[in-house]
Amino acid sequence: MGSQAKTPLRIGGGAGFAGDRLEPALILVERGEIDYLILECLAERTVAIAQKDKLADPTRGYDGMLLRRMEMLLPAIAKRGVRIVTNAGAANPQAGAEAVAALARRLGLRLKIAAVLGDDVLAQITPDMMLDDGRRIRDLGELVSANAYLGAEALLQGLRTGADLVISGRVADPSLALAPLMHHYGWRGDDWRMMGRGTAIGHLLECGGQLTGGYFAEPGKKDVPDLAHLGFPYADVWADGRAIFGKAPQTGGRISLATTKEQLLYEVLDPSAYLTPDSSADFTSVALRDLGGDRVELSEGGGQTRPTHLKVSVGYRAGFIGEGEISYAGPGAEARARLAGDIVRERIGSEFDELRVDLIGADSTHGRFYGNRPEAYEARLRVAGRARDAATAARVGEEVEALYCNGPAAGGGARKHVREIIGVASTFIPRERVPSHCITIEA
């Protein structure tokens, strides 16, 4: 009762991955009456890829969509006094902050931007360090990047400068929301119960539309209205950590117990001990209640002492993957596609450690059939192989394309491509060896 008397803090989740849609965040700012907007834009390997950009050009290495997002959002946040917290700095938060400041000046806006630094720990990585899968650093290829997961306290330094935009590189995703809560309510970093509750809230918000009906809908069973205009979520959070999740008005999507439960456990290992730099959060003691009208309440929940070590994502060069695809349709489609796959394997299989042959439309995703096997009208052959160099990897697509003239009857629509792979492995580092700091830039 007491906690309901005061106005809650409203945090919007405006992006759930690097390539996420732009408009939902703008709708949250313009119509969602939010205080803070968090933008999660960094998958595990995104930093490693950005690090390659930074090596090529020291003024780059931040998220490729950062400036497009900011061009859309900055005028709106300046008008409404919304503050943004984002990890879109990727491998180069300082360059990202400078680029956003330049953009703000061009737009005629006066904004303060804080860059949170210190997650880059590549200089501290040694060959004998253990990985979480039992291997050692020396077992990987050439290292590209090593970034420790910073936590909410690192972002808090940025918020305390009064910055309108706090931009970091690698931080734990839920910390993006926990930091504004700590800043607003004065929650202490060693108040494990509140750290756990705030982590649950951040975890639910950080994937954007995955809380509001994205990655959820199944026609006839799990219907979601107007998914084309999927609205992104916000949380109203009170001082005791109770939260009500909702979504931007006049948008599509749905928040229900079902969407919330699915997202609560998404990418979680032990639900009673979800480890972040901020806490060991307990999601098993969380209580969820459907309030109707696309509103779900989260209460209770808690946490224990945070880990002594920070997780470090290590990016390394892992060679190249070449792929080729070609379609067969009509009577005997599958038999012709399987023959085509056998031919490619016989022609180039010995050049690759691993060559994968799939039939799209048949068994490419689960590797088998569950239930009655339908007869496919068409089948698309896909062959993929990994190689040390791009030229060898390209052989896969070349041989698939050559099936036009050298394979079974009536193969069509061949496509081929090659991409460099950056592998990602995980290790750990004592937190005291990862000091973070922040710098501010005025636009």
Partner: protein, 102 residues
């Protein structure tokens, strides 16, 4: 034949080569049925060829759900796997194909 799909919904996530899989009963009264159907032994058998490592099951009665952590399930993980669905995003529906324990 009735399947988990008739009584439950599911979502998968990935952490390196580990697949996380949560399955929830639509109706609280089906939670025990879900627990009886989706045992670790049955899931291991059902997902053979997909999950090569250990499967750990967590029970979440407050959510009417089960949570599975499946090791060595993603052919090395999202970055280096040759599979089409490197994240295992589609695997929730492989799990929901499990026949119900009648």
């Amino acid at each position: 034949m009735r399947r988990l799909h008739d009584i439950a919904h599911a979502r998968t996530g990935d952490k390196g080569d580990t697949l996380t899989l949560s399955i929830f009963a639509y109706r609280p009264e089906d939670f025990l049925r879900l627990c009886d159907t989706a045992t670790v032994a049955r899931m291991k058998h059902h997902l053979q060829g997909i999950v090569a490592g250990e499967i750990t099951r967590y029970e979440l009665p407050r959510l009417d759900g089960l949570h599975f952590v499946c090791r060595q399930a993603l052919k090395g993980g999202v970055n280096t796997s040759l599979a089409l669905d490197t994240h295992g995003k589609s695997l929730s529906y492989a799990a929901l194909s499990l026949p119900l324990e009648e």
